[in-house]
Symmetry: C2
């Protein structure tokens, strides 16, 4: 999980370092996307691009037609180079002088290419154990949903445990509603409905989450975005976590409660398996 | 305000760039201090060091005896080199692989040396105009007080206006209490008491704010840390903002309300003037 990148591209050239005056470093003034690359193709590339654009608009970072062009051309070249692995893109407001004001941000693009992470097969088949984090996500409608670089909430929550027993931590907001995992979104089957937390007050609208919501609709599954306390999730008949890199992992244990992957989870696992099956070019 | 640094030191050597895998960039996993340097001396160096140490402990960044030694020796060399200006120090959790977990952070030190910013003399003498920001600070006890790198709240608030009419924006928390300026702390004289917002739920405990609270006690001024709505600040008889670089600026206008520097402000202005008067070595 904690491996180094194979290579780094900054604004179109291979280099391992970024200006120390970048507003990404100074203030976290930027966004990121973590994308799975399979046989040279970026999975759900369009959705990543759309979330990135939305995030830029929310953070006053111009996402020009030229930038969009660069994004797609670099994505093509670098996913071909990586071929299989994880491609992380950071877009920041670029370099600037001291001070919070950002009169004319010139965005910076940082692509990091990582080898594929090998997860135990049991995660997908039997599920993973997750825990509830003590740390609570602050409610902040203006920053909710986007994948910005201010991630201390996740860093602090992830510091709560050091053992490998727990694969993920679930975060509640300060008002007690379940929001998401530290690195994943959360789905549950409750009373026959596929439910996932609303992300209008906190959390990241995951690209895989959006894809699964679409697919569930196609399958005719009843879907709800909800604001529910912990206890109601513990009463779920199925539970799983998801993100763009892992796809879906069923939850087999949450704190002291035990779960089993059920029919809805298996149906959606099949769909993500298909999604990640990219023919060799 | 938006000038470039004269030089940058990263982990003890002069270089303008930082590893793209730094956790400061990835997650804002770090802290910063912005220090005034006058005639080769860092103003309130000890207080900056203490806040930095506190921040490191809150963010699980080890601040070892070796790091403290490096901090002081580099501060000495670089403040002598800068002689007059603003010294910004960023301390991050260092480079790491992908993922929020930070098993063994090896901190990184980034010093940026800036020429002195020339502010109009009228700011200090007649005061400045400030406005209330629409954007609200989320309540977050765990991150409150420290000067961490997750500064999107300030970036977004500072995007609310582009003209030079307003020198500073005041931020309220999501519960309506006045917290601080975007780049300053706020003081007021209300009913004869010197008051400043409590910073246990949001905001940065400014080094200059702490100094002024100490000095006010020495002067025998009645001081209170308060949680008050906007309206009560508008009824203040005196108002001023402060930080480590500007010292104190009286507020002459806040939104549509007009203020005048009074005796308490003048008393504390004298004290900051003394603080910044460092004899040439």
């Amino acid at each position: 999980m904690n491996s180094s990148p194979e290579w780094v591209y900054v604004d179109g050239s291979e280099q391992a370092a970024v200006s120390a005056t970048d507003r990404g470093m100074a203030y976290g003034h930027g966004l990121f996307e973590t994308m799975a690359v399979v046989n040279g193709q970026v999975i759900l590339a369009q959705s990543h691009a759309e979330r990135l654009k939305l995030g830029c608009s929310r953070l006053n970072i111009p996402f020009s037609a030229e930038m969009e062009h660069l994004f797609w051309s670099e994505l093509k070249v670098l996913s071909a180079r990586l071929y299989n692995g994880t491609l992380k893109l950071i877009v920041t407001a670029g370099s600037a002088g001291r001070g919070y004001a950002a009169p004319r941000p010139e965005p910076r693009r940082i692509f990091l290419g990582y080898q594929p992470t090998e997860y135990p097969q049991s995660y997908r088949e039997d599920g993973v154990a997750i825990r509830t984090c003590v740390y609570r996500l602050p409610v902040n409608e203006q920053l909710a949903g986007i994948k910005h670089l201010n991630r201390l909430d996740q860093v602090i929550a992830r510091c709560e445990w050091m053992t490998d027993d727990w694969i993920e931590g679930v975060m509640l907001d300060t008002q007690g509603a379940v929001v998401e995992g530290i690195m994943t979104n959360l789905f549950a089957v409750i009373d026959g409905n596929l439910v996932t937390p609303k992300l209008d007050r906190a959390g990241v609208v995951g690209v895989m989450r959006s894809y699964l919501l679409e697919q569930a609709e196609v399958l005719g599954l009843p879907v709800q975005q909800v604001r529910l306390p912990l206890q109601q999730f513990f009463e779920a008949s199925e539970l799983f976590i998801c993100n763009s890199v892992i796809g879906i992992w069923p939850v087999r244990q949450w704190d002291q409660s035990i779960f089993k992957p059920g029919p809805v989870t298996h149906q959606l696992l099949d769909i993500t398996d298909q999604l990640f099956k990219v023919k060799t070019a």
